[in-house]
Structure formats: structure tokens, C-alpha cells
């Protein structure tokens, strides 16, 4: 058998990928040049497969000509998935180690950067509510992906996932029952309006946009893993600039400050759960 040709995959070199991403950046201001390459490449290849585009040159031509296709392309390139109370032990730690200290602020400002479709936002809102802090909190939930933001804003999720989310919630030390926070209708659940009251959903692009406020807590989980070290460093600096003194930074369970020049500006709050405090 001859395996040398692959009928449904399109191969291109690293150089071709880079000049393609440069063109996207130049034309539209979306900068994927400092993203980790393997996953960007896979997403582009998936897009080409689905839309039956034979080469990167063809894709380039189509994107530069047709803005609606470009919008779809950007959505697919930047989409991330998440779940409610992902890593329950993280939420438990957030509750036990961070909420207590947040309680000392008259107004609590929280930035959830890269909020995807919002599951994490509602998880944190529930946590704040149970600790009696939601009323005086403002949550800024941002993502580069406009479609994801829209879904996050609606707070409407498939009922299929709720069993797993409920288990996560319980393991995270939930004080009530998750079902108290949503109503089910057909195959969907809708989160309570009271949770949304103090949430501002807005597009924000970590690669090019600046700081927009000062926060007591920034949560950015499983976003940095998509970036190269240079961009990780830039974004950590952005977070550093956006935190008040002794503000908290929470990253994903496989992310760290190790490769950034701000690592000595933070202290571990919970090393295992990747929760840090800005000390200088």
C-alpha cells in the first residue's frame, strides 16, 4: 500500500504558515503570530478540510477578499472550550484562600480573561454569591471570540453537561445544589439573572489590547498555553499592570510564571492550584 500521499490533509511549511499569519495580522489586526504553532496549524487545516480549500494560498486569497468568511475563520481559530467548575480543587482553593481576602474590599473588581463561552464566569459568580460577595463585585468577562462572548452573555447551556458540572460543583465545596442556580427548559438550562447582574461581557484581545481597569482578581485559565513564551510574558505583564497591590492572579493547572520576567513579582497563594498574589 502507498501511504505517501494523504488525500484529505494539506501540508504546508512553517515559513508558509508564518507568512500567512503575517498577512492576517497586516490586513485585519488579528495577531496569531505568537500563538503556539501546532494547534494553530491544526485549526487552519481543519478549516481548509471543512471548506474544501486546497492550499494555503487559496485560503489567503479567499480570506482577504471575503470578510464574512474571514469572520468565520477567526471564530474557528480562536475558539476555546471550558466547563463549569473545571478542576474542582481550584475552586475550593479560590473559595478558601482568595474570597476571604477579597471580602475586605468595598468593591471587588474581577477580570476573567479568555472567558470562552462563560461556564467559568457563572462558576465564579456562584462562588461569590455563596460567600456573600456578589452584590459588591463587578466581573469583567472578556474573550477575543465574539461568538463565544455572545453565548456567555446568554448563559444558556446544554442539559447534557449538567450532571458532570453538578459533580464538579459538589467537589468544589458548593454550599447548596447547583440546580438552584438555573432553570431547565427542553434540552437547555438557563442561569439565573441575578448571577448576571454584575457581569460585563466584552470582547478583548490579549495579544493587542491594553489594560482597561485595576482588579483585585484576574482569572485566566488555559489561555496562556496557546501562546508562545514571548506572548505569555507580554500577557503576564499586562496582568501585572492590571492588578492592585496584593491582587490575585489565577492561571490554569498546567500554566506557570516560570518563563516570565515577572515571576519574582508574585508570591504563591496555592502553588498546586496556580493561584498567585502580586507582591511588587
Amino acid at each position: 500500500m502507498d501511504f505517501s500521499s494523504a488525500p484529505n490533509t494539506f501540508q504546508y511549511s512553517q515559513e508558509e504558515l508564518r507568512s500567512f499569519l503575517d498577512a492576517i495580522k497586516f490586513m485585519y489586526g488579528y495577531d496569531f503570530t505568537d500563538y503556539a504553532e501546532a494547534s494553530v496549524k491544526r485549526r487552519i487545516m481543519n478549516f481548509m478540510n471543512v471548506h474544501k480549500i486546497p492550499s494555503l494560498q487559496d485560503l489567503s486569497r479567499i480570506l482577504l477578499k471575503d470578510e464574512t468568511v474571514f469572520e468565520t475563520f477567526i471564530q474557528e481559530l480562536s475558539v476555546t472550550v471550558t466547563e463549569m467548575f473545571r478542576d474542582p480543587t481550584f475552586y475550593k482553593s479560590l473559595r478558601e484562600n482568595v474570597m476571604v481576602r477579597l471580602a475586605t474590599y468595598p468593591i471587588i473588581k474581577i477580570w476573567i480573561a479568555g472567558c470562552a463561552t462563560g461556564e467559568e464566569v457563572y462558576s465564579i459568580a456562584i462562588l461569590l454569591k455563596e460567600e456573600g460577595l456578589l452584590e459588591r463585585s463587578i466581573i469583567y468577562a472578556t474573550d477575543i471570540n465574539q461568538k463565544s462572548i455572545q453565548i456567555a452573555k446568554e448563559g444558556l447551556y446544554g442539559v447534557d453537561n449538567m450532571k458532570a458540572y453538578t459533580a464538579n460543583y459538589n467537589n468544589a465545596g458548593g454550599k447548596h445544589s447547583l440546580s438552584e442556580y438555573y432553570i431547565s427548559k427542553y434540552n437547555s438550562v438557563m442561569f439565573d439573572k441575578s448571577l448576571k447582574q454584575n457581569i460585563v461581557f466584552s470582547p478583548h484581545n490579549l495579544t493587542v489590547d491594553k489594560s482597561f481597569n485595576e482588579f483585585q482578581l484576574i482569572v485566566c485559565r488555559n489561555v496562556l498555553i496557546y501562546f508562545n513564551q514571548q506572548l505569555q510574558n507580554k500577557v503576564i505583564n499586562l496582568f501585572h499592570d492590571s492588578l492592585c497591590s496584593f491582587g490575585f492572579l489565577a492561571l490554569g493547572s498546567k500554566e506557570s510564571l516560570l518563563f516570565t520576567d515577572k515571576k519574582s513579582s508574585f508570591e504563591d497563594v496555592d502553588r498546586k492550584e496556580r493561584i498567585f498574589m502580586k507582591i511588587k
Binding site: 501511504f3 505517501s4 490533509t9 504553532e37 501546532a38 494547534s39 488555559n222 498555553i225 498546567k254 500554566e255
Partner: protein
């Protein structure tokens, strides 16, 4: 053992995919490899989201090689067995470092064997060995095909001797498996490519 003429290639890395029944199979192979094993071994074992380090802890008690959960941006080195962390996909970059992603499940799995194998094939090309062991999923079959297309060498555990036959069988059905063997035969193969690599280093 059904085998193709083995060549004298000096391989650079080994990727392994394993699912149900995997712990026993992994211990059986990894416990027999020497501490100075000269190729990095990178493993996706399908696993639950709890007990995040249990697999590594158990393997380490049985192996001389260092067992390590892969970190993002980590440089891939010989002497290590790298495992994909639970709930993340493990990918390999051109500069031979790891990337992790939280992308959607592929064939109901995260980590996905197909994703590791496909990205590894793009990096190591004909110097990659891909191995599929026991499992009750079809994950890995597409990855095996990609390794073969890139010129690498592919092995599957003999379904008749595997705890779960489905996964190795799915890979064999692609027609892209070079060698089918028992766990002992796969272990011998892994030792042989290590020894060849060492002889080669000695000669040069």
C-alpha cells in the same frame, strides 16, 4: 511475530497510545527498559479527570526510567517517559517542545492519541516510532496512518493478546501497521532500537 524487514534507521522518539487495560501493559513494557534508554517515550493514556498524578506515581514505582507528566513548552529529552496530563491534549511543536491545549474532545478523548501522533509525525517524520496498545476506542488509528504517511515505523499490540482488542485492531485495519506483536515482542523491539542508537553514538 509478523514483521517487515527491519532497517537500520536511528529513530529519534517513540509515541505510544493506550486506553482501557493500559496500566498493566505500560508497566509490562516500561519496567524492562533501562534507565539510560536513549529515546524519549511520549505516552497518551486515556484517563479520568480525578487522581491527576496517580498514573505517574504508580508507573514510577515500577520503572527505572524517569516518569514525568509533560509540561507545556517543555523540551523533549531522552531518558524520560512523558505522559499527557489528564484533561489536556498533548501536541509536539517543530522545536521539539510540548504544547498543551484545552480544545474539544477528539473521538471522545482528551488527551487524544490521534493528536499526539499526528503532530509528532510532522516533527519527527521517518524517525518516529508509533505504538498502539490495548484499548476499547478507535483513537490512534488516524494517528498511526499519519505516522506511516510521514515515513515512520508503526507497531500494534496483537489484539489476541491485548486486554482490549478493539484499539489495536482499529489501527491494524488501517493497513498502516508494520509490526504486530505481544507486549514482550514490543519491548524487545524498543530495546533493539535503543541499542542500535547507542552503537551508532559509539561509532561516531
Amino acid at each position: 511475530m509478523k514483521t517487515v524487514q527491519s532497517d537500520n534507521r536511528i529513530f529519534s522518539a517513540v509515541v505510544m497510545g493506550v486506553s482501557a487495560g493500559g496500566l498493566h501493559a505500560l508497566i509490562s513494557i516500561l519496567s524492562k527498559l533501562p534507565e539510560e534508554y536513549s529515546l524519549p517515550l511520549i505516552i497518551v493514556q486515556h484517563r479520568g479527570k480525578d487522581h491527576k498524578d496517580l498514573l505517574e506515581d504508580v508507573l514510577q514505582t515500577k520503572c527505572r526510567l524517569k516518569i514525568k507528566q509533560a509540561d507545556e513548552k517543555e523540551k523533549i529529552e531522552a531518558g524520560y517517559v512523558y505522559t499527557a496530563p489528564s484533561n489536556y491534549h498533548l501536541l509536539i511543536e517543530q522545536d521539539k517542545t510540548f504544547s498543551l491545549t484545552s480544545d474539544i474532545y477528539v473521538k471522545h478523548s482528551r488527551p487524544s492519541i490521534d493528536l499526539l501522533f499526528t503532530t509528532a509525525a510532522e516533527v519527527y517524520k521517518e524517525l518516529l516510532v508509533g505504538i498502539i496498545l490495548t484499548g476499547a476506542s478507535s483513537d490512534g488509528a488516524e494517528g498511526i496512518l499519519e505516522i506511516k504517511r510521514s515515513g515512520g515505523f508503526t507497531l500494534a499490540q496483537d489484539p489476541q493478546t491485548a486486554e482490549y482488542a478493539y484499539m489495536p485492531q482499529a489501527s491494524i485495519n488501517t493497513g498502516a501497521i508494520d509490526l504486530i506483536g505481544t507486549l514482550e515482542e514490543i519491548t524487545s523491539y524498543l530495546i533493539s532500537i535503543h541499542e542500535r542508537r547507542q552503537r551508532n553514538n559509539f561509532d561516531h
